[in-house]
Symmetry: C2
Subunit: 219 residues, 2 copies
């Protein structure tokens, strides 16, 4: 089973068994909190099924979604690697199953499994690249470019011929760290230009090329 | 010698020798480019002396400094861990010496030195934490809070009794990803409130507590 989860593809059967032997399975209902920003971090998590939102908020008004994680993704490593307290909150946005690994077992795993550690390293470098790009985008782009980037990012693992994602305007706004009204306007602009279709919380990409060119990441 | 460089503190003598045997030393004058954003990345760098600025720019106008790196810091790992092209530019801002390690040797090092890899992992987690905080700060804070955060960040390795840094207003503005005029105003506000002193490119922290409270990171 676990071989199918992308995180485990690079691991040997021995390493997969090692992870399973030290992880416990925990189930979450949609809306359940996994941990909250500023909590002391004691566990590392691998998503076995479902969808987890990583986000931060200040007060009750402003929210910023850093990522939606799904099967094979992991999270919670940051406060185990130095930070101590959680730098963001994690919440299940669907019914989800997580493999939970304690801090001590996580450190043991790093020491004993070079492939696990390499995978961690690649993922962190990747996420760092993404956040650097996001900072750039916030500084240098207008809202249209940022929306285009957010859509590209949210659909990047989607290899279907017609790319659709289910996301409402509030979720999109939080992903971009902004409010609903400008996002709504930008969506309408992209609709009118024939770049996307958006109806009842479902966004369809009509032209990925145009989207890339608007985002400034044309190839 | 190398034992004194903080990056190497956690490494065994054998590992340090391994690094020295595969690295070549390269010297840079102040202002020299180490690599440019979008270059193909073929090397990993450790700062032996001097100061390196990691930054990005769009057009010739807007710039954003991600970090100033000094003795013992490393950079260039990101395009060796997946990305291929450099996600930012690197330039010497003082006369600097760098230990240069090729992509193949870097990957060999990861495979063979668990302590080197762990150190990489901790540093990436740390940088990720910092960029996440920066995104938060850009979204949730006004310019005064962002300036306070930038000053705290730039002085965090400074353990002198009176904390001073040499940085001009343009550098500060680029570090914050904004322009000089609002930064200049914010500096004056902090000066008037007795939080900092700023004269001839030298900034002195008068009250770290006040600075923390303005940044929203009071303890």
């Amino acid at each position: 089973m676990l071989r199918k989860v992308c995180f485990f593809k690079t691991l040997t059967p021995r390493e997969i068994n090692q992870i399973l032997s030290i992880a416990r399975l925990k189930r979450y209902k949609s809306g359940d909190l996994v941990f909250m920003k500023e909590d002391i971090g004691n566990n590392f998590f691998i998503v076995k099924s479902g969808r987890i939102k990583i986000y931060t908020s200040i007060g009750s008004e402003k929210k910023k979604t850093f990522a939606f994680l799904k099967k094979g993704d992991f999270f919670g490593e940051m406060s185990l690697l130095g930070g101590k307290v959680r730098s963001a909150s994690a919440r299940a946005v669907e019914e989800s199953e997580l493999l939970v690994i304690s801090k001590n077992n996580f450190k043991e795993l790093i020491r004993q499994s070079p492939d696990f550690t390499l995978k961690l390293l690649y993922t962190l470098a990747n996420r760092l690249n993404k956040t650097d790009k996001e900072i750039e985008s916030m500084l240098f782009h207008n809202i249209l470019g940022r929306l285009a980037e957010a859509i590209i990012d949210l659909t990047k693992d989607n290899h279907a011929k017609i790319i659709k994602i289910a996301i409402d305007q509030n979720e999109l706004a939080e992903y971009m760290g902004t409010t609903r009204v400008p996002v709504c306007r930008a969506i309408n602009t992209l609709k009118r230009s024939g770049v996307i279709e958006y109806r009842r919380g479902e966004l369809t990409v009509l032209s990925m090329d145009k989207l890339r060119s608007i985002s400034g990441n044309a190839v």
